[in-house]
Amino acid sequence: MKGSKGILLLSFSILIFITWASPAYVAEKSYKIGVNLEFTGPWAEVTKTMRNAMVLEVERINKIGGIDGHPLELLFEDNGFDLGRAASNMTKFTKDKEITAVVGPFEDNLQATTRAIAEREKITNIIICPSNPMLRSLKQKWAFNIAQSDIIVSQKLVDLSLARKYKKVLVFHGAWPLAQSLAEYYKRFGEEKGMKVIISKETHKPTDIDMTPQLIKLKPIIEKEKVDAFYACTGGPPGPIICKNLRTQGIKIPILGTHAFGFAFIIALGGEAMEGVEFAAGKPVVPDQLDENDPVRPVILDFDKRFRERYGVGIDQIAGHAHDTISLTYDALKRCQGKVTRATFRDALENTKGLKNCHGIYNYNPTDHDGLSKKDMVFIRIEGGKFKRIKFLGFE
């Protein structure tokens, strides 16, 4: 207990230490953006891509002289997929008065907290991943969404199913927020359009390494109900696992995927089993297959080129989101005409109109903080281990 005096003493002194030795980000008069992502944990790979893309963009902007002389600067913090850390990173950023905006966490559950902090601390929070509608419906003043909302994605997928004349679809969704809400929206919109959508009682977790048991239980349903298609409503590794196990079970019905299937590693994992999987995704999945007259085509091609030069791989949707984030920020900052504060930045961002980006044309307004619309997605089919864009008359 005498000892613990020492311990307490030293811990307090460490507080002092850290507070004065807090991160020294050296750069004069640069506009700072805080990035608060899951660099460790299940999303590590994705967030790495994101960082690469952001860095690439920021370098480009700084090369062309930044925002009338002020360079743009990124500060990265890892929130380790942990609620407390995500929140404390947020407050850490708000503490640094020079930071104008925070690019928010990837996971929905963490966003819930950071959005709340953003509202209270009056700092723009740019949400980079498709967060679930429950959050979006909060209509927070300081939170902006980059990615397509689940509503758009589901509607687009319903279009695809209609185009394919699927009458009955079985949904096997993952047990996490995004997948759950995707399934529910798909059911709602699908049944509005007169389809029959069965959401299975069985679910799976992102860490599941074997879906066979679940699929075995679904098999009778598939056979009894004469289901036209199987909607693997999931993201990341489970996607290919499901496809593999389905084929192993000798189930041959067509598979629908989410936009989360639009990544190279999915095909790498699934191999043969992925052939013929169809889904709707953002345009960066197929940079080379866009229409000539597509307004965002040049943006994507240019970004794809630079990305390849720098990192050796092509862009994907995540890289696209990252690119869009930066260019939105850049655009907004430019429209601040020099007097950049958190408030002016927010207003400028809110007035973004017709900005051409990788994922499409962004329009924000006070009532709508989801930039994109249904038109900004395309139908994709996996053929010969490649993403191939497919088109249908009447659906585009």
Partner: protein
């Protein structure tokens, strides 16, 4: 009830799963035979086995068998290093500290592998074709058979190692009767050291076997490790045969339980079994050489 339609299929997948748990459990048992340490990082060895093989196969472009061999070597090395750097310094520490140290190691290993080899899940080509065999209305992957066969080969190997060789006897002695072992001039630390090597090797082998069926990612080790431990306790703590039996029982029960409960609760099954077995029969199905009723 109609849910029995898919009983045979569930059974077959349960058996495969069971074989894997058995393999992981064998790793635990190997260590426990040399010392009363429970290594919570055991699952990470499994993970590393798969991931490193993938890396050697696709990053360094080694032939498959060579890659497997080298990967096992590397993991064994990691296991030995773990003993030297973590377990040995703490050999006199209380149980709690050891548990935390192994948990810390598991955090370190998994996150480091995520850092070095990426956090994307990996898969390996199966030893003999991906075409699933259709036997009596049951689909079986050839790899599954591979897993079964090698499980039993490994069991025989370990059995011979621990019962027919001097080394095995020495290991067991150093665990069950430390004082006697000292008197016989058996170096306990050396035994634990070797045990860690062997268990790491077993783990890596298991990892390589299962990666073609299930994807191995940096984080898939922990849960496998825990379930493997449950299997070891279930079968009878410290018995190779117990580990195998426990593994299969666990795998099959877990798989068949899906007939009655939604699959989301699958992971809970293993731990419910753990609690039950700990409460009603701590020494497991086959009984355990280490656990007498009074201490545990």
């Amino acid at each position: 009830m109609d849910s029995w339609i898919y009983f045979p299929q569930l059974l077959s997948s349960g058996i495969t799963m069971g074989a894997i748990y058995a393999l992981v459990a064998l790793g635990f048992v190997t260590i426990s035979r040399a010392s009363q340490i429970i290594n919570f990082a055991q699952g990470e060895f499994v993970m590393l086995g798969g991931v490193i093989t993938f890396f050697l196969l696709n990053g360094v472009n080694l032939p498959y068998p060579l890659a497997i061999l080298i990967a096992i070597m590397i993991v064994i090395l990691i296991g030995l290093m773990m003993h030297v750097s973590v377990i040995y310094p703490l050999r006199k520490a209380p149980i709690l500290i050891l548990i935390m140290a192994t948990l810390g190691t598991s955090i370190f290993l998994s996150s480091t592998s995520g850092l070095l080899f990426g956090t994307l899940p990996r898969t390996l080509p199966s030893f003999s074709g991906d075409q699933s065999l259709h036997v009596w209305g049951v689909f079986v992957l050839p790899q599954g058979l591979w897993v079964l066969v090698s499980t039993f080969i490994l069991l025989i190997f370990l059995y011979l190692l621990s019962h027919r060789t001097l080394l095995g006897k020495a290991m067991e002695a150093s665990s069950t009767d430390p004082l006697g072992a000292d008197l016989l001039g058996i170096s306990r630390n050396l035994m634990v050291f070797l045990a860690f090597g062997v268990s790491a090797g077993v783990g890596a082998f298991a990892g390589i076997l299962i990666t073609p069926i299930f994807f191995t990612s940096y984080s898939s080790g922990t849960i496998l490790g825990l379930k493997g431990f449950v299997a070891a306790v279930l079968g009878g703590w410290g018995k190779n045969s117990g580990a195998i039996l426990g593994g299969f029982v666990l795998g099959i029960v877990e798989s068949l339980s899906l007939v009655f409960i939604p699959s989301g609760y699958k992971d809970a099954v293993a731990f419910v079994i753990l609690l039950l077995i700990l409460y009603f029969r701590p020494k497991g199905i086959l009984g355990s050489p280490f656990i007498d009723s009074r201490r545990w």
